[in-house]
């Protein structure tokens, strides 16, 4: 049965330096949760505290109903897959898989059966007698996952497990880990700095910055309704465009703002204190539309600076009259050359407004 994890005001300090600032988080049984954020945001530290590899300086960690703060790593029912794989180079794949079971004192027949089962799931039966140095990166990663599977843990932790793989293999392993989650149904926590991994794999994403949770939610919730400018900019590729804006007036229907030298009727009211307030407007590249009558609001002509042809979509890097830079993503293959002028527009319904403190309005 899957396991629930609860963090209450979790703090991590190194001397006077506080790395994690009172995090509250609940991970439901069987959920695939991804901790994502830039380097140094504390995502790996948080994972290691859950694993028991890092002492918890303050707050409480619960696994199901049990407080785990002082419980040794081996007693938490957790298995972890490391970024470096952490395979023992002097042992065969079989020995690597069996190490934890031998340590726990399992009988040989049970060990053989569990190793065979894990090898079957990961399709590494033919590698069992090889040493890690004779394996490719992807095969090593499978063995590392296999080592976690054989222990039949309640919780799987993954610490940037795909970072050392090439792009193609990452996509393949991403799918396999997602399938593994579907098959086993265990609670899994996955750490990555790659927002694509987070978006594609997670049931729930936890965005971290400087040891604080910026937002928690389902991938599309975070993508469509970011709680702040950081989350809005972090999730999505190409990144969200940000344009400085100023609040003009509040009509009966909603607020109007000045952005890129034009007035934009938002058609909704913002929670702001008064006119002339400095804002930041965010719009995703796929929500900027090309064409004379593109969208309800026109942004005028923009000069195309650079074109990226991805086959299925075309990405234009453009500059508006006032110098604001705007990235546009459009489906299909557009025959547009750098230097040409293109009319841009957008739908205010897809615009995100952020206050001076970065919070969404």
């Amino acid at each position: 049965m899957a396991t629930r994890i609860e963090l209450r005001q979790i703090v991590k300090s190194y001397g006077t330096l506080q790395a994690i600032h009172g995090i509250d988080l609940t991970i439901e049984p069987g959920e695939f949760t991804v901790f994502v954020g830039p380097s140094g945001c504390g995502k790996s530290t948080l994972l290691r505290m859950i694993a028991g590899l890092e002492e918890i300086s303050g707050g409480d960690l619960f696994i199901d109903a049990d407080r785990m703060n002082g419980v040794p790593a081996s007693k938490r029912g957790i298995a972890m897959v490391f970024q470096s794989y952490a395979l023992y180079p002097h042992m065969s794949v079989y020995k690597n898989l069996a190490f934890g079971l031998e340590t726990a004192g399992y009988k040989r027949a049970e060990i053989d059966q569990r190793v065979a089962q894990a090898a079957d799931i990961l399709q590494i039966q033919h590698l069992l007698q090889r040493r890690p140095k004779a394996l490719s990166g992807g095969q090593r990663q499978r063995v590392a996952i296999g080592r976690a599977i054989v222990r039949e843990p309640k919780i799987f932790l993954f610490d940037e497990p795909l970072s050392n793989l090439d792009a193609e293999l990452r996509v393949q392993m991403r799918l396999e880990i997602a399938k593994l989650h579907q098959t086993l149904g265990n609670t899994m926590i996955y750490v990555t700095h790659d927002q694509v991994e987070a978006m594609t794999m997670a049931d729930k994403i936890v965005v971290l910055r400087d040891g604080r949770v910026m937002q928690v939610g389902a991938p599309l919730d975070l993508y469509n309704r970011p709680a702040n400018q950081f989350v809005a900019g972090f999730l999505g590729s190409p990144k969200m465009n940000f344009l400085p804006a100023r609040l003009d007036s509040a009509a009966s229907g909603g607020h109007t703002i000045s952005v890129a030298g034009r007035t934009l009727d938002l058609g909704r009211r913002l929670a702001v204190t008064g006119p002339d307030e400095a804002l930041m407007m965010g719009v995703r590249p796929e929500h900027v539309v090309l064409g004379e009558n593109a969208g309800p609001a026109s942004l005028g002509l923009a000069r195309v600076q650079h074109v990226e042809q991805l086959g299925g979509e075309t990405i234009l890097h453009t500059a508006l009259d006032q110098g604001d830079v705007l990235t546009v993503s459009s489906a299909g293959q557009l025959a547009i050359r750098p230097g040409s002028m293109v009319p841009l527009g957008l739908d205010p319904a897809f615009c995100h407004l952020f206050g001076a403190d970065g919070r969404v309005l």
């Binding site: 694993a51 972890m80 023992y88 190490f99």
Partner: protein, 315 residues
């Protein structure tokens, strides 16, 4: 279509314009010039004397008269009629068998203690390395004689602390060799530094993975640390064993060059020295030296052959 062909020199045909220098040193005379200081030293001070001693080992030579060819007589006598050779070999082997493992174990224990993130580590490392620099010197050997003499510091401490009247450790054939073994173990600094470097190379992730598996510290040591340290253990074992076979100064100083009492500190090199520079039997001493070369060579070859079964090299 125009094509460009590149002329290649024919095999075995020397390009035009090669002088004497070219014929001697090929196309890289400057390389040999840089090599020259080492080459002169190697040929004049190592290879030359070594080959000369090989020749002398088949002669009767007293330094004053010309060497007299005696064939394998020196080797036959060593093998069949030299009780001091047997004594020296026994003492040396005992010294090697005792001092090398003890020194390596001690060095590894200290290195592991240092590897736990000690404050002021560079200072401790320097202090513990110091005996390795001084240990084989005459001064330390003299100090050792003072420590383990009948009225030495060790016996004074034994008397003061436990009321025990100790023997003269260096004058008693039962204990004299062991004082030299202790002196050797005390010089653990060099292997300790190498062990420490080896321990630092083992990724922390492996211990963390073992922690999650519930492996005890002892199991981690035997299943992770020791196997991953085998390349370093192998290196230290070979170097220290060769050094132990060649040990000379401590035995020379402590026994006044005699190897006593009752041949108990008669190291092989000391016996060789006595034969060569005490009795001026240079031919015989040369034969002894070549037997030592063969013994050390055989040990080293055996070590390398056995390494494939117990030394684990990563990547």
């Amino acid at each position: 279509m125009a094509t460009t062909s590149i002329a290649r020199p024919q095999a075995g045909v020397r390009p035009e314009g090669g002088g004497l220098l070219h014929r001697l040193f090929g196309r890289q005379p400057a390389g040999y010039l840089f090599l020259l200081p080492w080459l002169v030293g190697f040929l004049g001070l190592t290879l030359g004397p070594a080959l000369a001693s090989l020749y002398l080992s088949f002669t009767d030579y007293n330094l004053l008269e010309s060497p007299n060819w005696v064939g394998a007589a020196n080797y036959v006598r060593i093998a069949t009629a030299d009780p001091r050779f047997v004594a020296a070999m026994r003492v040396t082997l005992l010294y090697v068998v005792l001092s090398v493992p003890l020194k390596l174990v001690f060095a590894l224990l200290v290195a592991m203690a240092f590897n736990r993130g000690l404050k002021g580590l560079p200072l401790y490392r320097a202090i513990f390395y110091l005996p390795s620099l001084l240990g084989s010197s005459v001064a330390i050997a003299v100090l050792w004689r003072q420590l383990f003499a009948g009225d030495g510091l060790v016996n004074m401490a034994l008397w003061q602390l436990f009321g025990i009247e100790g023997p003269s450790w260096i004058s008693n054939p039962r204990y004299s060799l062991y004082t030299l073994v202790i002196l050797s173990v005390w010089q653990f600094g060099s292997p300790m530094i190498i062990f420490l470097a080896g321990l630092r190379q083992i990724p922390v992730d492996m211990y963390e993975a073992a922690n999650l598996d519930g492996a005890s510290k002892m199991r981690q040591f035997f299943k992770i640390t020791l196997p991953l340290l085998t390349p370093v253990i192998f290196f230290n074992a070979v170097i220290q064993t060769i050094d132990a076979f060649k040990a000379f100064t401590p035995a020379f100083i402590i026994s006044d060059g005699q190897g006593g009492p009752v041949n108990s500190t008669l190291f092989y090199t000391l016996y060789l020295y006595q034969e060569g520079f005490g009795f001026f039997r240079m031919g015989y001493a040369s034969a002894l030296a070549w037997i030592l070369v063969v013994i050390i060579g055989a040990f080293t070859a055996f070590s390398f052959l056995s390494a494939r079964y117990w030394v684990h090299y990563d990547e």
